[in-house]
Symmetry: C2
Subunit: 335 residues, 2 copies
Amino acid sequence: MTRKTSTKLEDIARAAGVSKMTVSRVMRGGTGFSDATRDKVLAEADRLQYLPNRIAATFGSTETSTLVGLCVPRFTSSLFGHVTESIQSNLSRLGYQTVIGSHDQIAKDEELWLKTLAAWRPAGILLAGTRHTPDTIELLKNLSVPVIELWDLTTDPLDMAVGFSHFDCGLTMGRYVAQQGRRQIGYVGAMAGIDTMGRARQHGFEAAMAEADLPLAAKEIAHDHPSFYTGFVGTENILARNPGLDALYYHDDEMAIGGIAYLNRHGIRIKDDIGIAGWGGMEAASILPERLTTTDIPAGALGKVAAEKLVTRLRGDAVDDVTVVATRLIPGNTV
Amino acid sequence: MTRKTSTKLEDIARAAGVSKMTVSRVMRGGTGFSDATRDKVLAEADRLQYLPNRIAATFGSTETSTLVGLCVPRFTSSLFGHVTESIQSNLSRLGYQTVIGSHDQIAKDEELWLKTLAAWRPAGILLAGTRHTPDTIELLKNLSVPVIELWDLTTDPLDMAVGFSHFDCGLTMGRYVAQQGRRQIGYVGAMAGIDTMGRARQHGFEAAMAEADLPLAAKEIAHDHPSFYTGFVGTENILARNPGLDALYYHDDEMAIGGIAYLNRHGIRIKDDIGIAGWGGMEAASILPERLTTTDIPAGALGKVAAEKLVTRLRGDAVDDVTVVATRLIPGNTV
DNA sequence: AGGCAATTTGTTATCGATAACAAATTGCGA
DNA sequence: TCGCAATTTGTTATCGATAACAAATTGCCT
């Protein structure tokens, strides 16, 4: 059987007239060699088109690999897209490679992905969400590798966490809506499988209602992924049952925009007839005639913070367990 | 220095009273061992909580790793989100892990990512787009690993390709718009850096115009990423310069929806006053009062086909160099 | 029961780097 | 110019699996 046959350290060593250990030192760029040696080695490496072999390097080293795992519910959501984008580019800048997985809110799928990832001896793991199977938690412990949970901060982190409280997002918005004088308030959500985060916002919103002695007047939750369409239909349904509602809080902006489309089509005036609030600070909302009342989520910043925090920890420096990323209620003009 | 100290094949071998080669055979699940041996080995592996070490396995093998690289322009686009999602879940199902990168249409960034990826001796590479630097092309050749280019089929593939012709999308839509009796037709695009694909659609559209002896009446191209907002503003700009337009073709649905928002706000009737066509079959379009005229792109299917094709090739079976994924013009009701 | 093929199991070398320690060289002050 | 510390370079063992081949065992037919 012919073995793989690309240029290796030994080839460079022979060509440069040094030992391969010296070549290794030069390639890793630390110290322990003269300038003359470095130049000679680099020149030969370049000439021979040396391609580092991280498989062999990781294997030979006591260190972990430079792979970092990232598991999110799905990549088709605008917010997770931004988080993924940001994490990937920041980790890349810091010398790490990103291996992805998605679990669509199914904790068992996250576990299966994690088992596969673990075989690569990753340097760190980033998980979006806080629902994990017992096996996942045990495996993470055994791996003894930094873990950052992204997104929700309402529970204790396994190791580290970066995100914000979804409950507080709902709470703050609930208070705002009540304060604007709305009295017949409904919630329109979507939940395919189990989405703890959307539910946490809903609970926060309900808590605000309770504070104001305003029980939630109606609730409509689609058994589907949040989308423009579920927002459209959810609005139709909730209004059919409760025509007197004067405000609606949505699972996210996408659904809120879907709801607005429904209202527009039926001549119901936003704000005058019914107040609309979303969540997520979705860019699409910029096309609405009036700025949408929503909560802005700094997804890019969140990813950057998470990537940098992980790397800081990997370098042995101290980091806080929990980093809160500030969300911002955008008053807008729809409530 | 203490070495990494998790359970290894040798530990299982000792516990089960066999050689580690036998354990290796059982763990990989082929043949060459008795049922009794297999049960004994698996029981010990389970008891000792064996975690396979793919770093060592890949290193010891003549094979490549089971890592597959995926590089897209960005993860924040709905279509690439779907492609990413589909590729990762299908590759995962087939036993491969996905390492991601993004290049934001900068060919040099793709090259840098590829160099890092190459150090992992990936089993295959998936690239969205067809613009590559000379170094990228040379590196891909030297790696002698399957490469699939996704998305655009207007040029010759480096190795394999899965996608469709953006030129044809534009051409088909152009013919349709002309056939509907539109005569003063404009194009609204967006181009941050260099986006060959959007440009290919534009050129296809212009070719259709030429066929119909209808030179494109106006063109507005934002130096920005396509978005609702650029669609909104682009529409405002193009109509300010050319009030007589009776149809607009947009870079994508997101921009078309932004354009529609502008038209709605200014009392310009869709279809009656001006025809609107998009591209991408974006789910968001489902909220429009009338179904958007657009081209549907089966992003999920494209990812699935690409993943399966790569794996088929990796298993040594023959595959076609080029796989065309069917796009579909949705007549809708906006032109 | 004997003999041969098929199946099961074991042995040794190897992948390409890094770790740990040892040896050689250099630089500089006394 | 000598000697010692600092720097540079080399040597050997090792990481945990798989490849290739060799040996032992089993099963079946005559």
